[in-house]
């Protein structure tokens, strides 16, 4: 926590900003990349969104009011940037859940940096059938290792709702994997 406070101070100091920003990149670049990649699916798109995210972070850090942790604030920027990207690239504004699932799997197959085996593809297929909010909750908790409190701040959902929702999603996924086996 003191490390984060110290980093914020440096980021807000024009003389130390660039050096502190390099440290920030070292600490969060990978984590934010994977958070973005799961939303936009392909590596190339994730790379574009990651760059936009860090540019926004760099520009916005002086106005960061510290109401949430730096960690959460950055995830929220990455999440919003990813959603913005997805919305921009949607061919139609009204897309059904089935079309969304297809888009998820099509993007995955088109990505040259996806080399998943049968089981991994099965997991993706199950995830693609969840609603968008359920996908985010599961991915943030299971893969990004964020706490319920952090997820609730990013998604604006109460912690209790998140908890119950997460456990039911995990149960559904487990059942579907077992059934298909």
């Amino acid at each position: 926590m003191t490390q984060e406070v110290d980093l914020i101070k440096k980021l807000k100091n024009p003389k130390l900003k660039n050096e502190a920003f390099k440290d920030l990149l070292d600490m969060y670049q990978e984590r934010l990349y994977w958070h973005i990649r799961k939303i936009v699916i392909t590596h190339d798109n994730a790379n574009d969104v990651l760059q936009e995210t860090f540019i926004r972070i760099y520009k916005g850090i002086t106005n960061f009011q510290e109401k949430s942790s730096l960690h959460t604030w950055m995830y929220r920027i990455a999440y919003n940037e990813s959603l913005r990207f997805v919305e921009k690239n949607k061919k139609n504004s009204s897309v059904s859940l089935e079309e969304n699932n297809n888009a998820y799997l099509n993007n995955l197959r088109e990505d040259t940096y996806f080399n998943g085996n049968e089981l991994q593809l099965k997991l993706h297929t199950i995830i693609s059938k969840l609603s968008e909010k359920q996908q985010r909750v599961f991915q943030m908790k299971y893969f990004d290792d964020l706490s319920f409190r952090e997820i609730s701040e990013i998604l604006n959902i109460s912690e209790n709702t998140l908890k119950s929702s997460y456990y039911s999603i995990v149960k559904t996924i487990e059942e579907k994997i077992l059934v298909s086996d």
Binding site: H43, Q51, F54, F114
Partner: protein, 167 residues
């Protein structure tokens, strides 16, 4: 920092192993460079244009003011020297003969009222007179023609007479 690296490595491995998602080699170090380049290029402090710096701007402003003041002062002096000619007769007089051939140019310089007076005077003195003379001449020719043969009549009619008749 070592713990952060470890954490990052764990996250990357988890995504590779469980989701089959891969990344290009050295991707994160290249991406870091790209981001820093973009951010630092965008953030380069706006340098003041050299001539806007106070050290240069003030002397330039002062010289411009001085130049304007000098021009104004010189012009005012010249105006005074023109006014110094007390005897108005010394000033060059307008010579209507110089512009006689160019009515348009003259009309631009001479006030309209003056031109109208000139035209009235010209019409009264010259055109009417010439017309009267031509009429008289015509009468004479007519009377003479009574005595002279028709074939000789043409010799009396000259160009000026024809012009005057047309007018």
């Amino acid at each position: 920092m070592k713990t952060t690296n470890q954490q990052n490595e764990n996250i990357t491995n988890r995504h590779k192993d469980e989701l089959g998602m891969d990344i290009p080699e050295n991707f994160f170090s290249k991406s870091k460079e790209d981001i820093l380049n973009k951010v630092i290029t965008n953030e380069t402090p706006k340098q003041k244009v050299f001539w806007l710096k106070p050290l240069i701007a003030y002397p330039i402003a002062a010289s411009i003011v001085l130049a304007i003041a000098l021009t104004f002062w010189t012009q005012t002096n010249n105006e005074n020297s023109t006014n110094d000619i007390t005897n108005i007769e010394e000033a060059p007089q307008f010579n209507p003969d110089l512009l006689e051939g160019d009515f348009l140019v003259t009309s631009l310089i001479i006030p309209e009222g003056q031109i109208e007076d000139y035209l009235d005077h010209y019409i009264a003195n010259n055109i009417i007179l010439e017309a009267e003379l031509s009429e008289q001449q015509l009468e004479n020719i007519f009377i003479n023609s009574l005595f002279v043969e028709d074939s000789l009549l043409n010799n009396y009619i000259n160009e000026s007479l024809i012009e005057n008749l047309i007018i």
